[in-house]
């Protein structure tokens, strides 16, 4: 609902911004470049987040779609926190302007800022993705949200929930959880889960009776785990 409100508000700003842009055109082919600063705050209890990726794009790029099989790039990001192929896939899409990774792991309570510049259009969107590393294949992020209406120095905030990539069964064992709670394997090309992206059902953990789990109750989540704020800087 917050997003709905922001969209509504942004839509109005967009109308003004678009109108002013039209009024300023006519001199040539120069495109306006917009710079965005994206702050990712780890707002969860005890799940470090892998270095977040931010993609600036238009309609026609989807980092993932609920109910649809994850790309190999998303699988690698969600199982092992390795974003290289996710970024490579984005850069192959003609609707992507730019993709950038954060400088490191974001610990619970910590933040990172990723700044990107891209040609402005009335359909500018952003996508953010990051793995919850004490899981098998859970990730958080925002998915193709229109930010075209943001004026300079305007901000929009999103609370990002958790998705299950659907590529690795959620054993929660030390051997299969790559984060500090497990120290196990990250990416494995075998796909042994339901095969599509879904909203995550949460962690069970040893404290709730899954005796083979390397996790404890502090690794659980029941809602969003990241606060993501995008500011148009220029």
């Amino acid at each position: 609902m917050l997003i709905d409100f922001m969209r509504e508000r942004l839509g109005y700003v967009l109308f003004l911004a678009g109108a002013v842009l039209l009024a300023g055109c006519g001199s040539g082919s120069d495109r306006v470049v917009a710079t965005y600063a994206v702050t990712v705050t780890n707002a969860g209890a005890n799940q470090p987040l892998s270095p977040p990726v931010v993609v600036i794009h238009r309609e026609g790029y989807d980092g993932w779609t609920a109910g649809v099989s994850a790309s190999t790039g998303l699988e690698k990001l969600a199982e092992g926190g390795d974003a290289a192929d996710f970024i490579a896939e984005a850069n192959l899409n003609g609707n992507v302007e730019t993709a950038k990774i954060g400088s490191g792991v974001v610990a619970p309570g910590g933040s990172t800022i990723i700044q990107l510049s891209a040609p402005y259009s009335s359909d500018v969107r952003f996508t953010v993705a990051s793995m919850l590393v004490n899981t098998n294949d859970a990730f958080t992020g925002v998915n193709g949200v229109v930010i075209a209406g943001l004026g300079i120095n305007e901000a929009a905030t999103f609370y990002a929930r958790v998705y299950d990539a659907g590529t690795e069964i959620n054993l929660e064992t030390a051997a299969t959880v790559p984060g500090p709670a497990g120290g196990g394997e990250g990416f494995n090309a075998a796909r042994n889960d339901y095969g599509f992206v879904s909203i995550h059902g949460g962690m069970v953990t040893g404290d709730d009776g899954l005796t083979t789990s390397a996790l404890n109750e502090t690794h659980r989540f029941v809602g969003p785990v990241a606060k993501i704020t995008v500011v148009r800087v220029s």
Binding site: R9, L16, A23, Y159, T218, V222, G223
Partner: protein, 237 residues
């Protein structure tokens, strides 16, 4: 000539922007519904304030007054931080606890203050330091009805041991009470420390099904929740 037309158009548009965007919302009714199954809200604090004011922020440590609210339901310190209850700050609109399924409305008037942002907090019972929160939402200015859903936060100031022992003062470990009369006793304790000591979105309670023992005094069949936990409907006049 073309330049003159552009300038005129630009001026007209800017003029329209200046005249059609109200500075603030005026009268704002804030209806809050507890949409949990088995969690009570202690007295709510509902306030319109300046954009830079935050009662809490995810990723930042809790203030002492936020801690007092989250551990024991005491909103007096946070109310004082906001300059006291007034036309656009309402303390305890429900007149006590807001039970699961119940609603209350705070009627705020920002006409005199021009305040533009809305925050809401209240402790969750039975939890150690859980609270429901809205952090400085930009209040819509156009008249209408707007719906939002709120998450449960953990103040990060007290270990979630899930033991109901009456401990509600800041720094005193334990849960003050289970208002529904559905808590247990004799638990050995769940968490002994908080791994994340900043304010964060709550991981949920564990609970168990042993009312006279086990790790937790909470009942996993009653006291667990999934976000969101509150529905907020703003009516902007």
């Amino acid at each position: 000539m073309r330049r003159a037309i552009r300038l005129t158009l630009l001026t007209a548009l800017l003029g329209m922007a200046l005249t059609t965007v109200p500075a603030h919302a005026g009268q704002v009714d804030v209806k809050i519904t507890n949409v949990t199954h088995g969690i009570y809200f202690t007295p709510l604090l509902v306030s319109a304030h300046a954009p830079a004011t935050h009662l809490f922020e995810a990723g930042s440590p809790a203030s002492a007054n936020l801690q007092a609210m989250a551990e024991g339901g005491d909103i007096s310190g946070l109310t004082a931080d906001l300059g006291g209850a007034d036309m656009d700050t309402e303390a305890n609109p429900a007149g006590g606890l807001l039970a699961p399924g119940a609603s209350t409305t705070a009627n705020l008037d920002t006409t005199a203050t021009g305040n533009t942002h809305l925050s809401i907090v209240a402790m969750l019972l039975p939890t150690n330091d859980g609270f429901v929160g809205m952090d400085a939402l930009s209040i819509p200015t156009a008249p209408g009805t707007y719906t939002f859903y709120l998450n449960a936060y953990d103040a990060g100031t007290e270990a979630n041991n899930e033991l109901i022992n009456g401990g509600g003062a800041p720094g005193v470990l334990g849960i003050p009470a289970a208002p529904g009369g559905d808590g247990g006793t004799g638990g050995t304790g769940v968490a002994s420390s908080d791994s994340n000591t900043t304010i964060h979105i709550h991981r949920g309670v564990l609970g168990d099904t042993n009312s006279t023992g086990g790790a937790s005094d909470l009942d996993s069949r009653i006291h667990r929740w999934l976000d969101p936990i509150a529905k907020v409907v703003l009516t902007v006049q």
